[in-house]
């Protein structure tokens, strides 16, 4: 997610962000993919599925590689970060 986040950046993830609503485009979320917590940006939403792409598009492994992510895989929304 360079340049948005660098190695060691701390983020606060709001786990209840999507209890009622759905993720929206441009939001940054933490999602559980392949057993790992990934931080990616939502670029598309289709029903219960979201398409996640990293800001560093040339280097990022994201939905372009692993496909759409189910909404239940979204852990929460990143609401604060600091380094």
């Amino acid at each position: 997610m360079i340049p948005t986040y660098k190695n060691g950046t701390g983020v606060i993830c709001y786990k209840w962000a999507y209890l009622k609503g759905k993720p929206k485009k441009k939001e940054i979320v933490v999602a559980k993919v392949g057993g790992k917590n990934l931080i990616k940006r939502v670029t598309n939403v289709d029903g219960d599925k979201v398409f996640l792409v990293g800001d560093n598009q040339n280097q990022s492994t994201d939905s372009r590689a692993f496909g759409w992510v189910n909404s239940w895989q979204i852990i929460g929304k990143v609401i604060y970060s600091f380094s």
Partner: protein, 146 residues
């Protein structure tokens, strides 16, 4: 505010999240596949040139030893070549690359098949085809970096 959050981070349980890809970013390089394919070709050539140096039992044994080492090396590097190609295929290349290079899927598929073919046989033509296929993938890779 910031000090409070940093303090809470220290005392509250936290989890690690990855903002990067599955391995450190940017370590994609077709040269590993190219080197492995060149090794396969070299091993095929050496296997074909290998001769028993004498009539005694030791010479025959040494021949078998030298032959086995080259076959093992060919097998190993054909596998390395296949693995490196598949890493590029599944992790590096993106749909936008495929749009630009529609032959990408077939090129890598054929290259991976050539890796298997070179394991199964000692065939210099197939080995040369593998080198060319790895070079072709490297060319596409280089184009995507422009």
């Amino acid at each position: 505010m910031k000090w409070l959050i940093k303090f809470l981070f220290k005392i509250l349980p936290t989890e690690q999240a990855y903002a990067h890809c599955d391995i450190p970013c940017g370590i994609y390089d077709p040269r590993a596949a190219q080197v492995a394919s060149a090794t396969v070709l070299k091993m095929v050539q050496q296997i074909k040139e290998l001769k028993v140096e004498g009539e005694d039992a030791l010479s025959k044994l040494n021949y078998k030893n030298a032959l086995t080492r080259r076959i093992m090396n060919k097998e190993e590097h054909a596998q390395i070549c296949k693995r490196e190609l598949l890493i590029l295929w599944t992790d590096y290349f993106k749909p936008e690359h495929l749009e630009k290079f529609p032959e990408l899927h077939d090129t890598i598929w054929q290259a991976a098949k050539l890796c298997s073919k070179n394991k199964q046989s000692v065939d210099e033509d197939s080995a040369r085809e593998l080198v060319e296929a790895a070079n072709k993938v490297a060319e596409i890779f280089a184009e995507t970096k422009k």
